[in-house]
């Protein structure tokens, strides 16, 4: 079979994904003088970043003088249960402050203090009021601001509604990617000096998810196929508050800002159960703790009618709610016929974010494959075992920019040779066209949507909020069985905008990523952050010293425990600056309590 003709583009830097990290990376690369192509599966400005509601966490200290990058560092490390990459956290906490001010100078709006400075709202497990925000639509503001900056940045071009399916290599180095134009089905090859994966996370393999259709893990799966390391894949965040009724709205996010602005969780006995589970942080405990608490209340028979909890903010009054949470008001009014100024919301955990991702170098966002970079949710390491709210919008700006700068440098110095291997292009074309080939004569062909639903059931039930060896083994068997069936996926129609055909590759990608989640979760035989093992309820000090790295070995997936690097003493000394630092309850790992500073150090001037 000879290769079908395809359209070729060439650029210095290819950015896959046009959410916040992709756009910020492209702006940085173009400003460094590189011709830059940004690819998006959707229209520009629709990426999942728009769903982020609460704000950007940054230690501006506009309301609380004691805040600063140091406390932000400590909160983020403790929230991540100390298995974060400390160097990423350090860079992040420093630079996110500049990124917020930069966004404002690009035209982004933020709510203000009485003095006219950027307002900051409290959020779960942050020591101080820290989230720069505009109402409950900060993600939309970020994406619109970056979008306007991007389209007016010389040298950057955006190709909308393309799906890339394979990274192309020349020897060891990634020299671009290939895929198809969704709207006409034609193949495209993009040759690039350096390639950045900014393709977001993966939540679509779960039944109840706040992710859009795009969250199928394309970037992680393509990176894995190209030989890159994946890190911490077991850490998948359940946001404690998603909508749970009506059925079509199940999983849609209810922002943590509801609790940040005073919302309280109640069970069916009208008890504020978070006072029992976390008397210090209460309703604003970290997301893993709140999600598990709701789960436990439901399992104990104290759930709301549709199997969740009640979230009540009515005491703040209609004026306040309409000003600070306008899109939540609209969402419940339109979708659930609930007036949140008068009635409580019914909420339950929903898959929200993936802490794990492609393993990167903290300084440059380079992956373990030359010429390939990753930033934002598709990369791993910053958030450890649990991400704090507000740290994702900051992440995408800080590491989007870093990836763009580093990829531009690589493209200029080492990325001139961009020839692709035509055999790779041909093999990928054949694989992509297989589900449309009517000559197979299968009698047992598979509907890709039904395979997707089967995968969602397996992951939700057996690799979800609570896990055990038995459940994970069940999930793994289901994935391997679905992998076999996926070879017989078959769809009707032509290649012009055929969603069934597009779903075939989505399913393939999701199977790869799901297998990585399950295999990593099997290896981490402890409970830590978002990983809750019913057969290992405690944290294990030995496993607190490692990250689990997943990589491809021929056709099989391997998981390796990789030791964490030692946090320097000056950063260890910052940990007590968190208001939630408690030497008696430190995450277990290589930092033994006797090595930790005493809690009183938090009052020391910084």
């Amino acid at each position: 079979m000879s290769a079908e003709s395809y359209i070729t583009h060439e650029c210095d830097v290819l950015v896959i994904g046009a959410g916040g990290s992709g756009m910020r990376a492209a702006i940085a690369a173009a400003e460094a003088g590189c011709s830059t192509i940004v690819i998006t599966k959707s229209l520009l400005g629709k990426a999942h970043t728009v769903m982020a509601e609460g704000g950007i966490a940054a230690g501006l200290g506009n309301l609380d003088d004691a805040d600063g990058w140091e406390v932000h560092f400590a909160d983020t490390m403790l929230g991540g249960q100390l298995v974060n990459n400390w160097r990423m956290v350090e860079l992040y906490a420093h630079e996110v402050i500049d990124r917020v001010y930069e966004l404002e100078r690009w035209g982004g709006l933020f709510d203000r203090t009485d003095d006219g400075l950027i307002m900051q709202r409290p959020f779960g497990a942050h020591s101080y009021r820290r989230l720069a925000h505009v109402g409950d639509r900060t993600g939309l503001e970020l994406i619109r601001t970056c979008q306007d900056k991007l389209v007016h940045t010389a040298g950057a071009e955006c190709l909308m509604e393309y799906t890339l399916t394979r990274l192309l290599k020349n020897g060891d180095r990634v020299v671009g990617a290939m895929g198809y134009n969704r709207n006409d089905g034609k193949f495209v090859v993009i040759k690039a000096g350096a390639t950045i994966l900014a393709s977001g996370g993966w939540g679509r393999m779960y039944r109840y998810t706040s992710n859009s259709w795009e969250g199928t893990g394309d970037g992680a799966a393509m990176a894995y196929d190209a030989g890159a390391d994946l890190l911490d894949m077991e850490f998948v965040q359940f946001h404690p508050t998603g909508m749970i009724w009506p059925p079509g709205a199940r999983g849609i996010l209810v922002t943590e800002a509801v609790r940040g602005d005073g919302g309280m969780l109640f069970n069916s006995e009208h008890r504020r159960f978070m006072l029992d589970y976390d008397p210090v942080k209460k309703d604003l405990s970290s997301r893993d703790v709140v999600a598990r608490s709701i789960y436990k209340e439901v399992q104990a028979g104290r759930g709301s009618p549709h199997g969740g909890a009640f979230l009540d903010i009515t005491h703040r009054g209609a004026d306040y709610i309409l000003r600070k949470l306008p899109s939540m008001y609209e969402q419940f009014h339109a979708l659930a016929s609930v007036d949140i100024t008068k009635e409580p919301m019914e909420v339950g955990p929903t898959i929200h974010y993936t802490m794990g991702g492609i393993r990167v170098d903290p300084e440059t966002s380079a992956t373990t494959v030359p010429g390939l970079y990753a930033a934002g949710e598709s990369a791993g390491g910053l958030h450890g075992a649990n991400r704090l709210g507000g740290n994702s919008l900051g992440d995408i700006l800080v590491f989007g920019r870093r990836a763009g700068v580093a990829a531009a440098e690589f493209a200029r110095t080492e990325g001139q040779q961009r020839d692709v291997d035509e055999r790779d292009v041909e093999a990928e074309q054949t694989a992509l066209l297989d589900p449309l080939d009517s000559s197979h004569g299968w009698t047992d062909r598979e509907n890709p949507y039904h395979l997707h639903e089967a995968l969602q059931a397996a992951m939700q039930d057996d690799a979800g909020i609570g896990r055990s060896d038995a459940s994970l083994q069940r999930a793994l068997s289901a994935i391997l069985e679905l992998r076999g069936r996926s070879k017989r996926m078959r769809v009707v129609g032509r290649r012009v905008l055929n969603p069934g055909w597009h779903t075939c590759r989505d399913v393939t990608f999701m199977l790869t990523v799901s297998e990585a989640i399950v295999r990593s979760a099997l290896h981490r035989q402890e409970s830590r952050g978002s990983q809750w093992r019913f057969d290992f309820l405690e944290q294990d000090a030995r496993q607190g010293q490692v990250n689990y790295v997943t990589r491809r070995d021929g056709d099989s997936m391997t998981v390796e425990a990789v030791p964490l690097s030692q946090m320097p003493a000056n950063l260890v000394q910052l940990l007590p600056r968190s208001r939630f630092y408690d030497p008696a309850k430190l995450p277990k790992g290589y930092l033994r309590p006797e090595e930790m500073p005493p809690a009183t150090a938090k009052e020391a001037p910084g």
Partner: protein
């Protein structure tokens, strides 16, 4: 922070998790929903195709479209992303009215078959998907936010200014206003008319306290602001309830009128030449 005692509170046996919500209630209402959905491409216009879908409590039109894609016709094309009315992807015409499929509740539509068609003002690609690329060209043509040079210290802005601009920044670019506007829809003038979405965009830039450019001339000439005869159809379909006509378009029209039809300014131009572009930039705010 640790997970001590996790399972005991839940009364679990400590070996195997159970599904988060038990068996999910599918919420079936027992009704059957009939939809007539437009199918076709510019070369192959098939017209409306009838599908029947089981009714579910609180169902929106996009839920029905997903049911069709999953179970009846995997080839039905529709755009969507967030399914929460925050991204503006799933615009269509439902029973002839432009709206978001993710926000249109089936139980709020009249009984009987529901018609779902693509936006009429834009060229068809396939089924419910249209080519909206012209909107991106317009956005590129509008000069971006530009502030006066300053020393980089944090800006001070009044919350009142943010509140006024926030209305415009709520826009999710669903282009329903562009679709409903008769300048585009009936007269097909989108090639010389920015349309309501981008008048909102211009207004958000012009009213930003730190912006120093003046885009009113361009909005009048290239943007065809005068074509708008304030019928307010755009305001009516906006899913974000932006008062497009009253708060964006009319103030822009007033700015144009002030500059060009104010008799004092007219006399000034005659006597001293055109100085309309020397708008006073706001003084950079002093540092904290």
């Amino acid at each position: 922070m640790t997970t001590t005692g996790a399972a005991s509170a839940a009364g679990l046996d400590g070996t195997s998790p159970v599904s988060e919500y038990g068996t999910p209630d599918p919420g079936l209402t027992g009704d059957t929903i009939t939809l007539n959905v437009f199918r076709g491409t510019p070369d192959d216009q098939q017209g409306d195709v009838t599908y029947q879908v089981p009714g579910v409590s609180g169902m929106v039109v996009l839920d029905a479209i997903h049911y069709i894609q999953h179970n009846l016709d995997t080839d039905l094309a529709a755009r969507w992303n967030c399914k929460a009315a925050k991204c503006g992807s799933c615009s269509a015409e439902i029973n002839g009215r432009p709206g978001l499929m993710c926000k249109t509740r089936i139980d709020e539509l009249p009984d009987g078959p529901i018609t779902v068609r693509p936006m009429k003002a834009f060229p068809l690609i396939k089924d419910l998907v249209t080519d909206v690329s012209r909107n991106y060209e317009i956005n590129r043509a509008i000069p971006p936010f530009t502030h006066a040079p300053d020393d980089g210290t944090p800006w001070r802005i009044r919350q009142a200014d943010i509140d006024r601009l926030y209305e415009f920044r709520k826009c999710i670019e669903c282009y329903l206003c562009q679709d409903v506007c008769h300048i585009n829809r009936t007269h097909g003038l989108l090639d010389r008319f920015y349309g309501p979405r981008f008048f909102v965009r211009v207004a958000s830039l012009e009213m930003h306290p730190k912006d120093v450019l003046d885009r009113t001339e361009q909005t009048r000439d290239e943007g065809g602001l005068a074509y708008c005869n304030v019928t307010k159809c755009c305001t009516e379909v906006c899913p974000e309830h932006i008062h497009i006509t009253d708060n964006a378009i009319i103030p822009l029209k007033e700015r144009v009128a002030d500059k060009h039809w104010d008799p004092v300014r007219w006399m000034g131009r005659r006597m001293f030449g055109n100085r309309d572009n020397d708008t006073q930039p706001p003084t950079p705010s002093p540092a904290g």
